[in-house]
């Protein structure tokens, strides 16, 4: 197990649901309700100091997991000072796709969260502007969900003429 995972486990205890290291990438899966406090700690703690939120995305594990763990919201963090990376995940249920927004922790999360809402339909509570970003407002469905057919047609929009 990696150093960062040990540190996380020691500090966070049972907030860490699971952790693994693969190809040198350290990953911790944390409980959804503790997300904001954990991320804030990761950002501010001297041993962690994850000042960059490099990437925020989600993965749809439809059909491979229980529906209560269908979505994973994935945060890729990077620390400039310590030059290390950590992947933080949190599980989001199918029937209640809501999680905390981390815009208050990293401003950069703003658009990334909008994109996840756009593509996966996961709602970020506390986000200042939860609108679609890459697609248009009239788009039906969330295209990166695994149950969205790649050949699906969208209704025509626009003025009548």
């Amino acid at each position: 197990m990696g150093r960062l995972i040990d540190l996380c486990k020691r500090k966070l205890g049972d907030t860490v649901l699971s952790a693994h290291e693969q190809h040198g990438d350290e990953t911790v899966v944390i409980r959804k309700d503790a997300l904001l406090t954990v991320l804030r700690w990761l950002r501010d703690d001297d041993a962690m100091k994850f000042d960059f939120m490099m990437d925020l995305t989600a993965v749809d594990y439809l059909g491979t997991r229980a529906r209560s763990e269908r979505f994973e919201v994935v945060y890729h963090l990077f620390s400039l000072k310590n030059n290390h990376r950590l992947r933080v995940k949190t599980l989001v249920a199918d029937d209640d796709p809501v999680t905390e927004s981390v815009v208050t922790v990293w401003v950069a999360a703003n658009w990334f969260e909008r994109e996840v809402w756009d593509m996966y339909g996961i709602i970020f509570k506390g986000h200042p502007n939860m609108k679609r970003i890459l697609l248009y407002e009239e788009f039906e469905g969330h295209p990166l969900r695994k149950d969205y057919n790649i050949r699906k047609r969208q209704p025509l929009i626009g003025p009548e003429n």
């Binding site: 693969q22 960059f52 890729h76 990293w106 950069a108 890459l134 697609l135």
Partner: protein, 399 residues
């Protein structure tokens, strides 16, 4: 109405819709601006006009079918995206250290060539939009020469589709080093002329200096990467922080700015062109000979004779093409230094021949996000250099 002179003059705010078809927005972004006179009070950015469902397409095809789509992310520096994707898949397959040394060096050269092409385009376009069309065309000429080099290797200028999992599509052409030398000699002249035309030109300086500035802390909070982050004085470059490809074996400088305004971004990019030349020259000098593909029948495409003569090769060839290269279950995030910033591929495999998820971290997505922050309080005309130095590439931002 906290501004006093607004109260005095009873001015009315003007709402402007800049783009998506506006000369400065390249047709791929829309700014919603509230103006007080010429001063920007509020600005919202809207993107998505070039969305092409990159991730969905990648999930639909096999692992190796994603390469043509990665070309179209940052189309100014397509080979870089190819390399970034290939590195991620190779890491996921656990064969990152088995890639032949020659491939590593060729990939480095292609990355740097495309970085040069990207910076030429970007700097040129920035000056074009500031009105100096001649300087723009000098850099376009330099870029054309660079793209000719890329074309002679990849077979296409923009849609290179050059890198394969565990190797490359083809070897370098004969006499490549000589051609590179020729092109660099020409490009240096253009670089010097461009430099003389602009760097000390007071009009240009006044437009670039202290416009679109972002502080070091804000740049970090907005997850800036690449030249824009380094212009703000943050010493972060993936090539240095976690060397990949051959970057650990070459000697080069990474320019860093101080205040993070447009002029710093301009200077950082200008210097990076020079440093890329250095890297390429060193790589060409160190270039090892040998194969360009990994020696693994389950990954590489066998030659046509082999397919016809060898039963095992033929089976692998058909299996690789139809089912796709088998990638073990797992997930990986590989950061690389694109010309705009950190291009990271986050791949999830559930086993089998198709990616479960193929996410690219687009650098200019994060950069464009900060446009409103950077332009607030400045003039309408300052949007143009700021937006240019951000270097929004629609293909990458909107995917």
């Amino acid at each position: 109405m906290e501004n006093r002179h607004q109260l005095d003059l009873n001015t009315e705010l003007m709402v402007l819709n800049m783009g998506p078809s506006h000369p400065a927005t390249h047709g791929t972004v829309r700014f919603f601006i509230k103006l007080d006179g010429e001063k920007i009070i509020h600005m919202e950015t809207e993107i998505g006009y070039l969305h092409r469902a990159f991730e969905k397409h990648c999930e639909d095809g096999t692992w190796s079918k994603a390469f043509p789509y990665t070309d179209r992310l940052n189309y100014n520096s397509a080979p870089q995206n190819n390399v970034a994707y290939a590195l991620a898949v190779e890491k996921l397959m656990g064969m990152a250290d088995k890639v032949p040394a020659r491939t590593v060096y060729i990939r480095t050269i292609m990355c740097e060539l495309s970085r040069m092409a990207d910076h030429y385009t970007n700097l040129g376009a920035a000056t074009l939009e500031l009105g100096a069309l001649t300087a723009f065309l000098y850099f376009v000429e330099a870029r054309e020469l660079t793209w000719d080099l890329i074309e002679s290797v990849c077979g296409a200028r923009l849609t290179s589709n050059y890198v394969r999992i565990g190797g490359l599509a083809s070897d370098l052409p004969e006499g490549f080093a000589g051609k590179v030398k020729e092109v660099f000699a020409k490009n240096r002249v253009f670089w010097d002329e461009f430099d003389k035309l602009l760097t000390k030109n007071r009009i240009f300086l006044d437009r670039m200096r202290d416009t679109g500035a972002i502080s070091r802390d804000d740049a970090i909070a907005y997850a800036f990467t690449g030249p824009c982050l380094r212009a703000a004085g943050v010493e972060y470059d993936v090539r240095k922080a976690s060397p990949y490809l051959a970057y650990g074996n070459v000697d080069f400088d990474i320019p860093v700015g101080t205040t993070g305004d447009n002029f710093d971004r301009y200077l950082v990019r200008m210097e990076e062109i020079r440093q890329s030349e250095r890297i390429i020259e060193q790589c060409l000098a160190q270039m090892p000979s040998g194969p360009i593909n990994i020696n693994d029948a389950a990954v590489r495409n066998p030659s046509k004779e082999e397919v016809k003569s060898n039963m095992a090769s033929m089976i692998f060839h058909f299996k690789n093409t139809i089912e796709g290269i088998q990638v073990p279950k797992g997930e990986v995030y590989v950061p690389t230094e694109g010309s705009n910033g950190e291009v990271g591929f986050y791949l999830v495999s559930q086993g089998g021949g198709k990616p479960w998820k193929c996410r690219v971290r687009p650098p200019c997505f994060a950069l464009t996000q900060a446009m409103g922050h950077m332009c607030k309080g400045s003039f309408l005309a300052d949007i143009i250099p700021t937006f240019d130095m951000i270097n929004l590439i629609g293909g990458e931002c909107d995917r």
